[in-house]
């Protein structure tokens, strides 16, 4: 009897958890297809808010900026972060310790503090707020995550491997590209994924360092949300679907590959 009750309790608790987490998300998706402006009554299915979103040039611009910045920031931070992590793994312990400490600062700091720090830094250098400052800021907060996800893979790497490659006549670049990088690939991929989603979703830091009409999706939602505007639901639905698709692909591909690999052996 007691066991049954406990079972019931855990089921109810998990059910409530799922509803709490997903009701708002489903609510946004549902009402993005509403044919009326209302946020309470579903009047009928329509794509009118999607049409409105597509014809809204500020929204489309924000989408474009978000994607371009996220792709560029991911590319730059993945390359720089990976090279830095490899460089650090061969550095003296003291140097490594110091760099790792400073590298953690953007992760530990409240984002608003990072945001205002960068705002003042760019203004001190006389850099105009806009695309460049936004990109630099995103690279700045993405690199630490790449380093954090690559470093553990490097720790478990046999240090003699690269030496062996060099002894066998590989140039340092060949050894890097053909021996080290393939071994740490999972760390690089998960670092790139974290960087992409961090950049794609960022609001606080972007909000402080951007200007000149360069907005990303989050900033647009923030400035437009003061009035009821169902196009935001349409835009949000796109964001939700895109991130879910990215996560799905990233989580599913390794499983499929794994299955294929097992079938072959």
């Amino acid at each position: 009897m007691e066991k049954k009750q406990k079972h019931l309790f855990s089921k109810v608790l998990l059910g409530c958890t799922a509803v709490f987490f997903y009701a708002p998300i489903l609510y946004i998706i549902l009402f993005s297809f509403n044919s009326s402006r209302s946020l309470t009554k579903f009047a009928g299915f329509s794509l009118r808010w999607y049409e409105k979103m597509l014809s809204d040039s500020t929204m489309m611009q924000a989408v474009a900026y978000t994607i371009i910045i996220a792709l560029l920031a991911t590319l730059i931070s993945t390359v720089v972060g990976t090279l830095t992590a490899i460089g650090l793994s061969k550095s003296r312990r003291l140097m490594r310790g110091i760099v790792e400490q400073v590298n953690n600062l953007p992760i530990l700091n409240p984002e608003i503090v990072t945001g205002i720090g960068l705002l003042m830094f760019f203004s001190a250098l006389g850099v105009k707020k806009g695309f460049l400052t936004l990109l630099l800021a995103h690279v700045m907060f993405c690199i630490p995550y790449v380093i954090l996800s690559v470093t553990p893979k490097l720790r478990s790497l046999d240090p003699n491997l690269a030496d062996a490659a060099l002894d066998l006549g590989a140039t340092p670049i060949q050894a890097l590209w053909k021996v080290i990088v393939p071994q740490i690939r999972p760390g690089i991929i998960s670092g790139a994924l974290i960087a992409f989603t961090m950049s794609f979703d960022d609001f606080i830091i972007s909000y402080f360092v951007t200007g000149n009409g360069v907005n990303n999706i989050s900033i647009l939602v923030y400035t437009m949300s003061k009035r009821v505007n169902p196009s935001i639901n349409a835009l949000s639905t796109l964001v939700i679907l895109l991130i879910t698709a990215v996560l799905f692909i990233v989580n599913i591909i390794p499983i499929l590959k794994d299955k294929k690999g097992r079938k072959l052996t």
Binding site: Y27, K90, P106, I116, M120, F203, S218, V221, Y222, S225
Partner: protein, 280 residues
């Protein structure tokens, strides 16, 4: 192998510029007067004096801390049972539920907060459902309730994941030992499981309290324009009033409060957990 060392150099230079210099700028601005050039720089504590002597700012600070503490407490009280239940499920079910809880954290926080705006409004879906069963509309949006709800919604996944990790890492043979030694389930939970999961709770507190105390868009969206927390003050000083010196001083005060509370939680962690381990 030393040839690879140089690859870290560009990032070290970058860190000095993009991470260290901005922090130093915050400290510099916080301790100087408004509108001075490098030539006429004047150090002062004026900004801090202004902040601590103003009743309005003090009540904002108190409210921010209060909201953050309440949010953290709710995240522990609700997050612990959820993590506990998940940790005791079958392997497959565990993975499923952890994925279910992780997934929303990848979706834009702003979008998720915006969703609650529609739900909590006076003519929103909850009040609509209430009116169907004959209950009057309840004002939820633009109240502390809405702000705390928004924060719990955004931050509780971090708490659940931390507690879950510490619970699954726990050596199950301790529990067997406890029951062999005659402990009932409540006793073995209180004296074995709970103390061993405290490190997870502590890192959960860090991950919830820090964003909660510095949050500014959740109070703005769900609390309305009148609802001001310390993050909103900083936002206004930097983007509206343009008083960077004062804004920097407030950020510094906030950063110190956060560091201090981290230090306190860490300290609270080392004492009872050590005792707990001895008891276990």
């Amino acid at each position: 192998m030393k040839q690879y060392r140089t690859m870290a150099l560009p990032y070290i230079v970058w860190m000095a510029g993009m991470i260290v210099a901005p922090m130093l700028l915050i400290v510099l601005y916080a301790f100087t007067d408004k509108g001075n050039d490098v030539a006429t720089i004047r150090f002062s504590l004026e900004n801090f004096a202004r902040f601590f002597s103003d009743q309005v700012f003090m009540s904002v600070l108190k409210r921010s801390l209060f909201i953050a503490v309440i949010t953290t407490a709710i995240c522990i009280l609700c997050g612990y049972p959820i993590a506990y239940v998940i940790a005791n499920r079958s392997e497959k079910s565990k993975l499923f539920w952890i994925l279910l809880i992780t997934l929303p954290t990848w979706i834009n926080m702003l979008v998720r907060t915006y969703a609650w705006m529609g739900i909590l409004q006076d003519e929103g879906i909850i009040n609509h459902l209430l009116s169907l069963v004959g209950l009057g509309p309840i004002t939820m949006i633009h109240t502390s309730f809405a702000v705390v709800l928004g924060m719990v919604y955004n931050f509780i996944p971090f708490m659940i994941l931390q507690i879950y990790t510490s619970l699954t890492k726990m050596d199950k043979s301790y529990l067997e030992a406890a029951s062999d030694l005659g402990a009932n389930r409540i006793q073995s939970f209180l004296r074995v499981t709970l103390p061993l999961s405290i490190p997870g709770v502590i890192s959960g507190i860090t991950l919830v309290f820090l964003p909660a105390v510095s949050s500014f868009f959740i109070p703005k969206l769900l609390g309305g324009g009148q609802y001001v927390l310390i993050g909103n003050v900083i936002e206004t000083e930097f983007l509206t009033s343009g008083d960077w010196n004062f804004g920097s001083a407030i950020s510094l005060v906030m950063a110190i409060i956060i560091l201090f509370s981290m230090y306190l939680t860490k300290k609270a962690d080392t004492d009872p957990a050590a005792n707990g381990k001895e008891n276990a």
